[in-house]
Symmetry: C2
């Protein structure tokens, strides 16, 4: 290496939509760390630097936590307020939501407080009354108008300022974490627009959640804050480490943050459940049934949603994203308003479904006929016959179930921020609650049946419909995302119900098995594949008996591999090679005859270095010879000065032999995070395998279109 | 490959004390799986086989669970009985332990029941009374004699039948799991002898626990049961997968099994704690202090124990293991008997220290002066001044602490099964309880101090000494084993106290930091290094700037690498090469001049194949030429038939270039589980790096003796 040369700026960075080389990045970071550690022994200042370097990771995570936590809190409050704005306004100040407006009201029960005088529905404001068909129509109209306005703003902002802000972001973040460059995906514009439009999209009443987008927001925060620290700014691998931590933390926080209520009222702490009675072993049968439902729904949802998204991508439908959003919003609002279970926000719905009916609960779902409650203890309520209201609620919930199932398929993937956790959970919770109430009534009226005898005597509280809702929600979420253990942990986080590990495990495992049998991919993997990102699924086993030589390029009929010789080529030769080919890198060999491998040089580094040399280095012309050797032989007197490029060459490229089984090659790529690997036969360079080649080969083996892999 | 050749038995297996090649083993398993999957489409029988193959993993784990669970239960019961045997015997039947003997006694309180008439101490049996100095001496003598008998039996059995049964087994199992062969370490003799001697060692009253050995027992079960299934018997990697699951399951079970009491009495369910009052933020200071104590003790223990074990290995001390065990047992028994806290079994001691004093507790540790308890609620007891008994207990505990700290250092590593979890926890629990009681008394007498004001008013229950004991136990365990998160999970398992996550986290993190600052290795890693096993620590960062060429063999001054050419050598040549060298494998090259790499052949496979060919294949003599090529050229008419060995050659050996940084090489070895890697320069074979070379290099870089790495 010519030590006089300064490192050329740009060498060692990546182009957009390219895969990073983990080995190189990690090695770079170790070099940096080594340098700091060596210097730290020399002076106090360097020692301080080394200490601050060691602690910068902790500081960064703290900042990310504070920033994304603040944003999540802001989103939560704003979405709450704007959701209520669809129904009415507070006279104390338009910036109060329904709950805070009525906070200081003198009424004692929650029902009366909800009707506090300061909170006016739109009908009350416009026509003066809240009763009668005209007022109903007025409210209906305002509800739809607000929804359309919010969604129009959301989709317009996304279209105009940050196209990357749409969707849940999780498939892209998974790809980025695996080592892919998408410039701007985690940038400041995406952050700002995603935060604003997420509030709008959630408030518009569309069937979407905010958990997935919140994870994207947190990753944006992490990426932006990474720029404050050299250690993270300069190294793609280190930055991904931080992103990964943020991703994980955000995924957990997205569910637990809502339990930290900034206003201290415990009424709206969502999903906190406390059941009074344990579950019985026989109840595992309905829990497994819920698991099967969750699995089938998950598989159906993924297929339908992917088919719809593919249609959007390939037909003219995709040319009118604003119109699409407006139509879906209009349909959602029109159908949701008449049914009280779809009119309320989805998280409120889930909270109500998870809730175990107490004695004082006066909601429609808890309207049971009050039979004698003498035998029971203070906490446990015995199973009771359902009242008329419960039957009405069952019908409404059934309609809500069908509505949610269908509308979510078309909603997820539109050009607005949209998460999938809450809608999936809602579907499962409705199904679970329906089954739970059904079981409860069955047990009440037929407690002499064999299956109920022994554990469900009259007057006992044997079935808890809220638990069924919780299990159903976990099953559906499992079917869609294919998480199992992590999902169960999330459900604990959500509900604090540690004693329900077995029901939750049974349902999520069943759901995963059923869904896997119907289609191997989770929703995020399916979207990654739909978009053609180069993502190597960590768990997928490669089980075909192909060898490296079947996958490498060039194929047998192709022209030979484009290589650079270590000392024989001029600047002109290399430039024409670059112009003729589009490969992202070239192997360097001793000579064309021997094909002995010396190293590997990235196209981008080569282009930047030659350009730089032509501008800065005196005498470098097209005829200058390029040397990758350690020592440059003396040049003939009249020839132009040589260009020494050993410094940009990777001296340790990975190689495998042509007889290496592809399952081993896939394993190496996955475990080491390679970008490319060279193939040799008896010591001669034969070809190259890139990550893209591997993904294409895997697609081909699975009878899919190999051209669906779009990026390097 | 010559397809007419049957696979030679033994090819592809490993010698004792050698490292396995994970890539080869995994690839073999994938081949097997692929074959079954292909066949399963052909016939119903094959389909059934494929299904049973898929479920054999579950079945195996079930069997392992049942077998090791039964063994653990048996060990628990036997150890209990034999521990009690040291003090007395039951007249109803000598096979009853103290508790079961008194089970049907009519006395109401625990104290009186412990003195039930059927249970006779040895003094009562021999001299007729339990009072007076003579009876005390009699009991003392019997206690020491039984202890000596048990430990003599234990060490003799280990010496005579299964030397591998000694110690905790965890360092060796960690090494085996990482891919090392120690034949017989998990065999049936080890299982039988370890089970029996574990009972004896625990009963002898030595300062050791049974959790570590129980993990070894479970792994033995798994290894033996693996032989029932071809899938696991034939594949070292698959077997290790099962072992790893068993290891993890056993580690958890070792702590939870004791909570499933086979006799249904809840009194001896160890360690179940229920504290009545929450902890205060200021208490984090003593918790962190306990963490520092745990860290210092952990580091001290590891150094002292390793120094002692090294002395045992290198001096004449190691020649008298039986005598050593007897001396240590005698010292332990003689010192332990007079102090009631060391006389009781260590797990009973921990249980008593974890316990929060209730109103009805009559133990020495709970003898507080009863001041007015009017203000408190039913559950919470206010802090009270300590009574005389508590001060006595404090003195005894202090002595017990010093005793346990010193005796454990010489006990761990003797030729009897010995675990470390329980003694470490005991040290921490004693220290924690001492600090806890101190804090409690401080808060009681000085509740007007600034630090106590506001949260510790008189009559409040502000300090829970039992919690301090629990935190101390976790801190010491953390200092010795360097686990943090997993340790906190284990403490939850043990105690069911989910609300103490912050104190436990604070103490274990501090303990780990302090201990790491004083010495990087945990006790198990230290023992692995002491024994010279080839274990590549998964977390240790390799931070030196050396290249592959600095580590590879041959060194610059050495003779060149021993290679085999693919077509030029006769059987005689190869046999003399094998005889002259002791390498465990040889690279195969095109020719000595070109040094182009073709493949790699294992010494063992080569020896077996040549031997087999000489015996079975007609005409193979010393002059026969060996071919590793795909096609054998026609031989001259009178020459002996050639030997085709392409089938035993690994066609995809791993290669790196000589300029590859060692940190990358270490990463590759770690992530892929390699056994060796070849080094090339510009396509020419230059040298070889084995796992042993890497470990030696790492030892050298850390200024340790590189010859401490003993095995391949």
């Amino acid at each position: 290496m010519d030590l006089l040369d300064e490192p050329v700026p740009g060498v060692g960075t990546y182009e957009d939509f390219n895969t990073i080389d983990w080995v190189r990045e990690k090695s770079k970071d170790r070099d940096r760390h080594r340098e700091i550690a060596t210097k730290s022994k020399e002076s106090v200042l360097a020692l301080m630097k080394s200490i601050s370097d060691a602690f910068s990771g902790w500081l960064l995570m703290l900042l990310v936590g504070l920033m994304s936590g603040a944003l999540a809190g802001g989103i939560d409050i704003s979405a709450h307020w704007m959701t209520d704005l669809k129904e009415g306004v507070c006279l104390n100040g338009f910036w109060f939501n329904h709950e805070h407006c009525c906070w200081n009201s003198n009424e004692t029960t929650f029902q009366e407080r909800d009707k506090c005088p300061n909170w006016k529905s739109w009908a009350e404001l416009i026509v003066g009354t809240n009763d009668g068909p005209f007022a109903y129509i007025m409210n209906y109209l305002m509800y739809v108008c607000w929804a359309l306005l919010f969604s129009f703003l959301a989709v317009s902002l996304v279209r105009a300022f940050a196209p990357y802000a749409c969707g849940s972001g999780i498939p892209e973040i998974k790809t980025i974490l695996s080592g892919f460059i998408i410039r701007g995906y985690l940038g400041k514009w995406t952050l700002v627009i995603k935060t604003i439009t997420l509030v709008l999209a959630v408030s518009s009443g569309l069937s979407l959640g905010k958990e997935g987008p919140l994870v994207h927001v947190a990753c944006c925060c992490a990426n932006i804050l990474c720029h404050l620290f050299t250690k993270y700014r300069r190294n793609e691998a280190k930055r991904r480490e931080t992103l990964w931590r943020s991703f994980f933390a955000a995924l957990v926080a997205a569910f637990t943050l809502r339990s930290i209520n900034p206003f201290g009222n415990s009424r709206l702490v969502l999903f906190y459940v406390e059941f009074h009675s344990p579950w019985h072993l026989l109840e595992l049968i309905p829990f497994v049934l819920l698991g099967i439902f969750g699995g089938i729904w998950g598989a159906f949802f993924i297929r339908a949603n992917i088919a719809w998204c593919r249609r959007r991508k390939t037909t003219r439908l995709g040319h009118y994203p604003v119109l699409e959003v407006l139509v879906v919003t209009a349909v959602t609002a029109l159908l949701a308003f008449p049914n009280s279970y779809t009119r309320m926000s989805t998280s409120e719905l889930i909270s109500e479904l998870f809730n175990d009916c107490g004695l004082l609960d006066s909601s429609q779902l808890c309207n049971y006929a009050n039979v004698s409650v003498t035998k029971s203890s203070s906490n446990a309520l015995p199973d009771r016959p359902a009242g008329q209201d419960v039957y009405t609620a069952m019908w409404q919930l059934s309609l809500a179930l069908v509505f949610k199932m269908l509308i979510t398929v078309v909603t997820f993937g539109m050009k607005v921020p949209s998460g999938l956790f809450i809608p999936s959970m809602a579907v499962g919770a409705i199904a679970g609650r329906l089954l739970g109430v059904g079981m409860e009534q069955l047990a009440y009226y037929h407690h002499d049946w064999v299956i109920f005898r022994g554990w469900c005597s009259p007057g006992a509280d044997c079935i808890t419909p809220g638990l069924y809702a919780m299990v159903g929600a976990a099953a559906c979420l499992g079917g869609v995302t294919r998480m199992t253990v992590s999902l169960v942990v999330i459900m604990f986080e959500l509900t604090g119900g540690l004693e329900y590990i077995v029901p939750l495990m049974a349902a999520t495992m069943t759901s995963k098995w059923v869904a896997d049998a119907l289609g191997r991919e989770g929703i995020y993997e399916a979207h990654i594949r739909l978009n053609g990102y180069p993502f190597l699924e960590p768990k997928e086993e490669f089980s075909h008996k192909t060898l490296a030589m079947d996958v490498m390029r060039p194929r047998r009929s192709d022209p030979p591999l484009s290589v650079i010789t270590q000392d024989g080529m001029s600047v002109e030769d290399v430039e024409s090679l670059i112009a003729e080919t589009s490969y992202s890198g070239f192997p360097v060999v001793v000579s064309h005859e021997s094909q002995r491998l010396v190293g590997f040089v990235q196209r981008r580094d080569l282009v930047i270095s030659i350009e730089n040399a032509r501008q800065r280095q005196e005498g470098v012309v097209s005829a200058s010879r390029i040397f990758f050797t350690e020592y440059t032989p003396p040049q003939p007197p009249n020839s132009p000065p040589p260009l020494k490029l050993r410094g940009i060459m990777d001296l340790s490229p990975f190689t495998v032999t042509d007889h290496t089984a592809m399952d081993i090659v896939v394993d190496i790529f996955r475990k080491l995070g390679l970008r490319q690997c060279l193939v040799t036969h008896n010591g001669r360079l034969l070809g190259i395998i890139t990550k893209k080649d591997i993904l294409k080969h895997m697609a081909q083996m699975a009878n899919r279109d190999p051209d669906s892999i779009l990026f390097n």
